[in-house]
Amino acid sequence: MGDVETFRKGEIALRDLSKSFQIGGRSLRVLRNLNLDIRSGECLAIVGASGSGKTTLLRILAGLEAADAGKVVIDDQPVRGVGNERAVIFQEPRLLPWQTVLENVAFGLEVRGGHARHANERARHYLSLVGLADFADAYPKQLSGGMAQRVGIARALTVQPEILLLDEPFGALDAMTKLTMQEELERIWRDENVTMVLVTHDLEEAVYLADRVLVLPKNRDGNPKIIEIDLARPRDRSEAGFVQYRKDLLREFGLH
């Protein structure tokens, strides 16, 4: 029985999801009858031009926005609003400047009713997992952008979510830091056995991290497309297969 349950953890089904925004009196449709199954433990990347609704989709998954129609089903349960089985990593680290790094990492678990001592213990564990054990007592303003983002990741991992939702998590980092962080994220994803949904505008990041890539159409009447990335891990960015997937994705956007 236990096996079956762990197998089902972090499975997401989207059914006929639609969402429009009212902008200047006009209705702008960003998602139209979207159906999608996200497998337990997989890494799904969502790419699309700006305005294609990729961030909106992630915010609906996070429970920060409501869909106009359709539903989100997680582990066979329809969900509404935020939930304990999900954690979000934003583009900005969103750390509380008045709390130490450790307090920030423990924040999520404490808010969810974790015992302060227990939360601190677990926070320490995940802080060392992202390589920042020595910075537990530092304040956020003493950290570099990459370090702050690691703290944000540790905070999300500390609540041990089944599903990790990432909204362009490395979009604000410099190129070198970004590559390092992608490698670390892959290692963490494998170790923690968590379902990841990654919104990104970086196609190479999508090919490097994802099992499948969801391409949202540029043109609103088009259909979303799924591309399976069939490459061994850890992936080699210069390998022919990798480069080919990147080319394929670029072509989806009419680029070369």
């Binding site: 996070a62 954690a87 979000v88 400047p97 008045w98 924040f107 609540v159």
Partner: protein, 281 residues
């Protein structure tokens, strides 16, 4: 062997003592430069005052020398005459300030979070704020009499608004992305308030507290100049009537000192509460 070579060999043989002494001198020099850059102009101003007054360049009946002012202050404070004035003044401004804190901070925290209430009350708050408290003082005297109540109330009135408006804006300016982050972890409204909104608003509340403390002293003097027979502000006017100019300046200096102490105390408290941010004086 040239002279330079001798120098060099002495330096080389001088060992660590020489180096240590040099380092010490350097550090003392740096500290002196720092002190001079910060307080040099103030010291020069006081020295100039003293010299100009005792040298007769300016009318020493209007600007008595600093030493005369200090000795008058010494006599006033330790003879007890000024001590009573300081006590009553502190009581008036302290009462008003505490009352303003007790009203403005909770009210501001509430208003900052409830947009409709804030929007409904904002115009009237702006009107009250722009109406000089001193202009309203006669009204308060009519309502509350010429005693302590009207004095405390006029100070309270003037200190209320900087604190209230800064508390409101502090709450409103808390990063909404942090609030959203807390919501993602399932934080309830009280938790969001306690862990995100309140700590985020504290720097702005302290700006309000410092403005209010300054305003409290300002209004204290004004209110004591009208219909008081005690208080530091009264003493400034009274000493001038009696042509005790050194005493008048002594009272003025005490007021300046009280303002500085209040400000430093608040900066100190803010540094304790907000170790995470840099607080400037």
């Amino acid at each position: 062997m040239s002279l330079q070579d001798v120098d060099r060999s002495i330096l080389a043989n001088g060992g660590s003592d020489g180096v240590k002494a040099e380092e010490y001198l350097q550090r003392a020099g740096a500290r002196l430069r720092h002190w001079l850059s910060r307080y040099g102009l103030l010291a020069a101003f006081l020295v100039f005052w003293q010299a100009a007054s005792s040298g007769g360049w300016i009318n020493s009946a209007v600007f008595p020398p600093i030493d005369a002012i200090l000795s008058s202050m010494w006599r006033g404070v330790f003879g007890g005459a000024l001590l009573d004035d300081i006590a009553i003044s502190l009581q008036r401004s302290g009462l008003a300030f505490v009352a303003a804190v007790l009203v403005a901070i909770p009210l501001g925290l509430f208003m900052g979070q409830v947009r409709p209430i804030e929007q409904a009350l904002d115009p009237i708050l702006q009107l009250f704020r722009q109406t000089s408290a001193l202009a309203l003082y006669p009204v308060f005297i009519l309502l509350l009499g010429l005693g302590e109540a009207s004095k405390v109330f006029v100070i309270f009135w003037a200190t209320l608004f900087p604190l209230l408006l800064n508390t409101i804006s502090g709450v409103k300016e808390v990063d909404s992305k942090l609030i959203e982050m807390a919501r993602v972890y399932g934080a309830s409204r009280p938790t969001v308030f306690r862990r995100v909104v309140l700590p985020g608003a504290i720097p702005s509340i302290f700006v309000g507290l410092r403005l209010s403390a300054t305003t409290a002293l300002l209004l204290l003097i004004a209110s004591e100049m009208i219909g008081a027979n005690k208080g530091v502000g009264f003493q400034v006017m009274n000493a001038q009537y009696n042509f005790q100019i050194p005493l008048m300046f002594a009272a003025i200096f005490i007021l300046a000192g009280l303002g500085l102490i209040a400000n430093y105390a608040l900066v100190f408290a803010q540094r304790r509460l907000c170790r995470w941010s840099d607080v400037s004086i």
